[in-house]
């Protein structure tokens, strides 16, 4: 059980790669830099493969495997170990993270080939993988938070990779600060968690939840508060309403970064966290509803913005926000496995979409605006076909990965709350529409760019091969969870079943089983293929085809006739401006006028200068005593003598 005993190897490999590249990379050639980085991730991936093999040999009672390596913090009752755990959920997340990051690393060889700071990029990427793996493997919430913060840091570093560009630096700061707000709630949640359960270790907490008798159980109110606080961290990190504003700006970073961090891994940390904490959430129905509501609203809201954006990466960014909303919707209605499943499929197709977009941008010589594109289909075929497949996946067309995951979520939502289901459904339609809009604008129609200025060429193999891999997964990846009815193995749900039932409250276990055995298999198949999600998705496809291929003047006419709503949505509902005016300006004003002038200059400087002033002035006064007049001196001597005499005789009573 080599890897199981030495889980730290998986984490240490990317860290080592980051260190070598970061410290020595300046002197390395490009080949060495990327060899170091890629071998680090590849070895991590191989370790993961070995881990799967070993994991398969374990019996049910041995899961989850927890390995403690050393005690990190001890302060009274507060004890945090560096301990890593592996269960089925961890395996899924590890697989997604290591595989997708491996593909992104390979892609980056080609994409970043002409960049300054090549070694820095790979160092940061490896560092990011290190933190993400820490987050996923952590066996206690504090260590998870270390990973949480660390991926935030790497996100900041990578968004602001082109640090000479003002907009990039601002975007990095925005990302960090916005997620900070969420992290604040998360920290308080951790504190409350510790205060309630006297431990931060997952196993300990969950066992406490299950084993305390009902009369001594933790009040639901406290559990709800903890869950809501933890969820605010997820809102920040996974870019939900209202803290999503950093993700579109994060597109300033290089496209591989967008693919890895802002599609496949970091933004899914929030989803993972809630899935990991499912025993807590299952016992706090109010928190679950909030999660589902926020998820559904975000899914719908972000989809509306994505309809009219013109920058190809911005469309994908809003699409990510929207899909994350779906994941939270799934988690919120109790379908944890579905949420995680969508996480996995989303990593595949969204990662593919971003990488393909990067390929398009590379082909266009850096231009990201879709109105400048068109007719690229024949010129960059591999990119086109892979992106096309990914679009089918995200739209939820049957047969591709996204269909199964999105369908499961919407089914669970329908069983739980019709309003949320409606939001999710409309959002699915919008998703289909804008994604096909993207494809049609970019690849179909007549080229809208000057063919003499821009030389469109296919990307090198280092970029196209990962695209192909991901395309395969976007298609086949869905079948691991497909229900029996369509020939799938329903393996995914079964695989994750123990994670979500080991500590579940008694009531929900039965409900999950009930939800599965609803109809006979054949009718379920028919139902699935003619269900609302499919209809909506096809409707979106048709509408996009109509708007952008059949009658291309329709979008403009519609936009002109609906000028006001169009402008509103085009400017992202003016949310950034709103935040700026309502929050940032007042804060700046307070910082300048109150904290700087009053506190810093007035009080602190005043105190320090005041002390100096007192010393100087009193010194000046005391200096007058030394007048030079001998008679004064004589008097002073006498005063001293009399004083001592009086003290000795009278007060001290030395002479009794």
């Amino acid at each position: 059980m080599f890897i199981l005993d030495h889980l730290w190897i998986i984490i240490a490999l990317p860290l080592l790669g980051a260190a070598i590249n970061g410290l020595l990379g300046k002197n390395f050639s490009k080949t060495i830099v990327n060899s170091v980085a890629i071998s680090a991730i590849a070895l991590a991936f191989l370790s993961f493969a070995e881990l799967v093999r070993e994991f398969a040999q374990l019996s049910a009672g041995q899961i989850p495997v927890v390995k403690t390596y050393f005690t990190w913090i001890t302060a009274g009752q507060f004890k945090v170990d560096f301990s890593l755990q592996v269960d089925q959920l961890t395996i899924i997340m590890l697989g997604v993270v290591t595989f997708v990051s491996l593909l992104v690393h390979i892609y980056s060889i080609g994409y970043m080939a002409h960049e300054e700071g090549y070694y820095r990029f790979f160092s940061y990427l490896n560092l990011f993988v290190f933190f993400m793996l820490t987050l996923v493997l952590a066996a206690n919430v504090v260590l998870m938070f270390v990973g949480w913060e660390g991926v935030g840091l790497c996100s900041y570093l990578l968004i602001g990779f082109w640090f000479l560009k003002q907009s990039a630096i601002s975007a990095g700061k925005k990302a960090f600060i916005t997620t900070r707000l969420g992290d604040f709630g998360f920290t308080i949640g951790i504190l409350l968690l510790f205060w309630t359960f006297k431990s931060v270790d997952f196993g300990t907490i969950f066992k406490q939840l299950v084993s305390t008798p009902p009369e001594a159980a933790v009040p639901t109110g406290i559990l709800t508060t903890i869950c809501l606080l933890l969820f605010t961290g997820a809102v920040g990190k996974s870019a939900q309403l209202p803290l999503y504003v950093w993700l579109p700006d994060a597109m300033e970073g290089p496209t591989p970064v967008s693919a890895l961090i802002h599609a496949a891994t970091m933004v899914t940390a929030g989803v993972y966290m809630i899935a990991r904490m499912n025993p807590l959430f299952s016992r706090a129905p109010v928190a679950m509803f909030v999660v589902a509501l926020v998820g559904a609203l975000t899914a719908f809201y972000a989809a509306t913005i994505g309809l009219v954006q013109t920058d190809i990466k911005k469309v994908l960014a809003y699409s990510t926000v929207s899909q994350l909303g779906y994941m939270f919707l799934g988690l919120g209605v109790g379908a944890y496995a579905s949420g995680v499943f969508h996480l996995m499929t989303h990593a595949f197709f969204k990662g593919l979409l971003f990488l393909a977009a990067g390929s398009v941008i590379h082909a266009m010589g850096g231009d990201q605006e879709m109105p400048h594109m068109g007719g690229l289909r024949s010129k960059i075929p591999i990119t086109f076909w892979t992106m096309f497949i990914a679009t089918f996946a995200i739209a939820g067309i049957p047969g591709f990965a996204g269909f199964f995951s999105k369908d499961e979520i919407l089914e669970a939502a329908r069983a739980s709350n019709p309003f949320l289901w409606a939001l999710g459904l409309i959002g699915a339609g919008l998703t289909s529409f804008y994604m096909f809009r993207l494809i049609f604008l970019t690849f179909f129609g007549k080229p809208r760019y000057d063919e003499h200025k821009v030389h469109v060429h296919e990307s090198p193999h280092s970029m196209t091969v990962p695209l192909i891999f991901l395309a395969i997964l976007s298609t086949a990846g869905g079948w691991v969870a497909a229900p029996h009815l369509v020939g799938g193995t329903e393996y995914f749900d079964k695989f994750l079943h123990p994670v979500f039932t080991m500590y579940a409250p008694a009531a929900t276990v039965g409900a999950e089983g009930a939800a599965e055995a609803v109809e006979a298999p054949a009718t379920m198949l028919l139902h699935a293929l003619t269900g609302w999600p499919v209809i909506i998705a096809l409707a979106g496809l048709l509408l996009a085809w109509w708007f952008y291929i059949k009658s291309p003047q329709t979008p403009k006419k519609l936009a002109d006739s609906l000028r006001a709503p169009y402008t509103l949505v085009l400017h992202k509902y003016y949310v950034d401006e709103l935040y700026n005016a309502a929050i940032i300006r007042p804060l700046l004003w307070i910082s300048t006028n109150v904290l700087w002038h009053v506190v810093d200059e007035g009080m602190i400087d005043g105190t320090v200068n005041g002390v100096a002033r007192v010393a100087r002035d009193s010194g000046r006064e005391l200096r007058e005593i030394q007048s030079g007049n001998a008679r004064s001196y004589a008097t002073w001597v006498v005063i001293g003598a009399v004083g001592v005499t009086v003290l000795m005789l009278g007060l001290w009573g030395m002479v009794r």
Binding site: Q626, G628, N629, A630, R631, A634, V638
Partner: protein
């Protein structure tokens, strides 16, 4: 013959000491200032002798002896200094000797 209570001597000593201090503070002529010091020393001598009598020991008297000797030495040196100061500043007014300052 009855004995005079020692406290009488001590009170007298105290009065003389205080007057010596007043003289030391108030007189401007440095020589007179000096004489105030001598007066103080005399007052202390009286106290010593009185205590020697009170405790019936000789130590007080020995001390008086030493005080007188030291006072002699001190006045010799002090007056020599006064003469030097007079030679340099042409004044015996203690307030005019004002160079000992910042």
């Amino acid at each position: 013959m009855s004995i005079i209570p020692i406290s009488y001597y001590l009170v007298l000593s105290a009065i003389l000491f205080g007057l010596g201090i007043v003289a030391f503070v108030f007189k401007r002529n440095v020589i007179t200032l000096f004489m105030g010091i001598e007066l103080m020393l005399n007052a202390v001598n009286l106290a010593f002798v009185a205590f020697a009598r009170a405790h019936n020991q000789l130590d007080g008297l020995v001390f008086v002896f030493f005080v007188i000797v030291v006072a002699a030495a001190e006045s010799a040196v002090g007056l020599a200094i006064i003469i030097t100061v007079y030679q340099n500043r042409q004044t015996l007014n203690s307030e005019r000797i004002n160079l000992l300052k910042f």
